[in-house]
């Protein structure tokens, strides 16, 4: 549905987006994740035909954004970073204008506008001037504007920015609901948002794609070192030595004993499953094994790893050996 191929956008000598490629299948939600200045907004502007790419091509529903912009725009709903509202219009007037320029038949406009206002919960400010709206309401009217003409593709630049927690949840639900018959790209800084709403994630940093996968795979893939969390009742003894002696264990971190035993974190060396041996060691000491689970790196940690390890990653790419996504930094941090 959406295909981005080797898109580069330069502002003067600076590349805001540098050779970015990805695709989104029909009906998918793609999360676009990256720190400030990563190039998310710029990429979205290229996709919506607002900015022409310096190099590369982008197509939506098979239409090139440069060659057939009107076809692309007809099929795309766009929520820019700052909602583009006309201060002198009321919300309803504004949406009527949007309906007109998107060629919605006059007879359908009022019912369609009412429905969209209800979905984005802006009905209670329908007759208020856009200049008088709070940030959250502006954002929601912006979203209403994007979905009004029922486009195939939705491009949402930080759709939950400035919303209160309840609204964030409702907006995420709305986006998930829309996903079935719309293809969606949304950008965000909020990592749980990606994990909750998106099927695929593209992580972008300094204009380059540093990772692309499903949120689950991303968390799984970076497991260079596995962290295992245990809850053990050691009957007062210190389990550090015993656990350290288990083959494959890289480090042991023991917490204070509590009413429910103590929490122990064991880090294994890369690609070794130490769970059986640990269980054996605990049980053979006569301790109680209350709980054991693999802790996954949170998206947050992955995000930080990917975006701060950029310079090292650059060197790795030039190395001849295979370029896996299991980066050395993960192992290093395990040793600490």
């Amino acid at each position: 549905m959406i295909e981005v191929q080797h898109v580069t956008k330069r502002y003067g000598p600076v590349a805001a987006v540098d050779d970015v490629s990805f695709r989104v299948e029909a009906g998918q939600i793609l999360g676009f994740l990256g720190p400030n200045g990563a190039g998310k907004t710029t990429t979205m502007r290229v996709l919506t035909g607002y900015l022409p790419p310096t190099e590369g091509t982008a197509t939506i529903a098979g239409f090139d954004v440069l060659e057939e912009p009107i076809e692309v725009k007809r099929r795309t709903g766009y929520l820019p970073e700052s909602p583009p509202l006309y201060p002198d219009m009321t919300v309803r007037e504004y949406l009527t204008f949007i309906a007109r320029i998107n060629r919605l038949p006059a007879a359908e406009r009022p019912s369609r506008i009412d429905r969209v206002m209800e979905r984005t919960s802006v009905g209670d400010v329908a007759d208020r001037h856009c200049s008088k709206l709070s940030k959250g309401y502006r954002q929601r009217v912006g979203l209403a504007q994007a979905i009004l003409h029922n486009p195939d593709v939705l491009i949402l630049d930080e759709p939950t920015a400035g919303l209160d927690p309840k609204q964030i949840i409702e907006t995420r639900e709305l986006i998930k609901e829309l996903a079935g018959d719309h293809t969606i790209i949304l950008s965000t800084h909020i990592l749980p948002e990606v994990a909750q709403t998106c099927e695929r994630v593209v992580i972008i940093n300094k204009g380059r794609v540093v990772a692309e996968d499903s949120p689950d795979n991303l968390t799984g893939r970076l497991h260079g070192a596995v962290t295992i969390q245990l809850q053990v009742d050691t009957l007062g003894a210190d389990p550090t030595g015993t656990l350290q002696a288990v083959p494959g264990v890289a480090s042991v971190n023991v917490g204070e004993p509590g009413s429910d035993g103590r929490t122990v974190e064991v880090q294994s060396a890369q690609d070794v499953d130490v769970r059986r041996d640990i269980a054996n060691a605990v049980v053979s000491n006569g301790w109680g094994l209350l709980e054991m689970r693999r802790a996954r790196l949170s998206l947050e940690e992955i995000f930080l790893q990917l975006t701060t390890a950029e310079d090292e990653a650059g060197e790795e790419t030039s190395a001849p050996d295979e370029e896996t996504e299991e980066p050395a930094p993960a192992t290093e941090s395990a040793d600490e």
Partner: protein
């Protein structure tokens, strides 16, 4: 077409919810009213003098003594006022970010430009309509020629259209309304000054300068003469202005 109408309609109503329309129309009515009364007084005085030296008051040509100078003055008022009507057209959209909405909606650049042009033009026609009332009163005083009045209005409409086209072009090049307004006004002033310079310049240069001068082309209209050369001049001016606006919008896009 429906897209152009949608934009024009939005422009027109945003003129009326902001103070701009009222200030501009009000100022125009005030200045126009002043010139109207002044030339009326002049004509009345002249006609009574003419009456004293024989002949009757009815021999005074309303067209020549009243309407022609009034139309010329109206042209000058427009030169001062119209730049402030078009100043916001693009500058404000860029400042507030709504330009991103327009440029990502299924509209061509030309549809947006024409919509803005006709929005401003409609308000301008409304201003002219105010003056039509005054003109009507003149039919009580004498027998002005309707044909030449209408010709004068055609000239005003064409000239105003040219001012608006230039204003859109300047507005598309900045995100600051004040810069757009003052810039347009300065350019129009330059075009006006060209006609003075043409008087003192040599024959060839003078002809070129007076051809370029926007106001010079209005003279014949105010005399009640429709010359296709002048009509063509104004229409080309408008078309070229809108064309350059489209170029300016597009180049902005490539520059980012």
């Amino acid at each position: 077409m429906s897209n152009i109408l949608a934009i024009a309609h939005r422009e027109l109503r945003s003129y009326f919810v902001s103070p701009i329309a009222y200030v501009v129309v009000g100022l125009f009515a005030l200045l126009y009213g002043y010139f109207y009364v002044a030339s009326l007084a002049f004509m009345v005085q002249f006609s009574s003098q003419a009456g004293m030296f024989g002949g009757g008051p009815q021999t005074v040509n309303v067209n020549e003594f009243m309407i022609r100078p009034l139309l010329s003055n109206t042209a000058i008022i427009l030169l001062f006022i119209l730049p402030f009507l078009t100043a916001r057209a693009y500058a404000e959209e860029k400042r507030s970010g709504t330009i991103e909405l327009l440029l990502t909606s299924p509209l061509s650049d030309m549809e947006i430009i024409l919509g803005k042009f006709f929005g401003a033009f409609a308000l301008f026609l409304l201003m002219l309509a105010v003056t039509a009332v005054h003109m009507g009163i003149l039919f009580w005083y004498g027998e002005p020629e309707l044909g030449s009045i209408l010709t004068g209005y055609l000239g005003l409409a064409l000239m105003g259209g040219s001012f608006i086209a230039l204003g859109l072009l300047v507005s598309s090049a900045t995100r600051n309304q004040v810069v757009a307004g003052v810039g347009t006004f300065s350019l129009l002033l330059l075009f006006w000054v060209l006609s003075w310079m043409s008087d003192s310049a040599g024959p060839t240069a003078g002809a070129i300068l007076s051809y370029l001068s926007i106001l010079e082309h209005f003279d014949d209209f105010s005399k009640g003469v429709i010359d296709t050369a002048h009509v063509t001049y104004y229409l080309s001016f408008i078309a070229f202005g809108l064309f350059l606006t489209a170029k300016s919008v597009d180049s902005e896009r490539w520059r980012g």
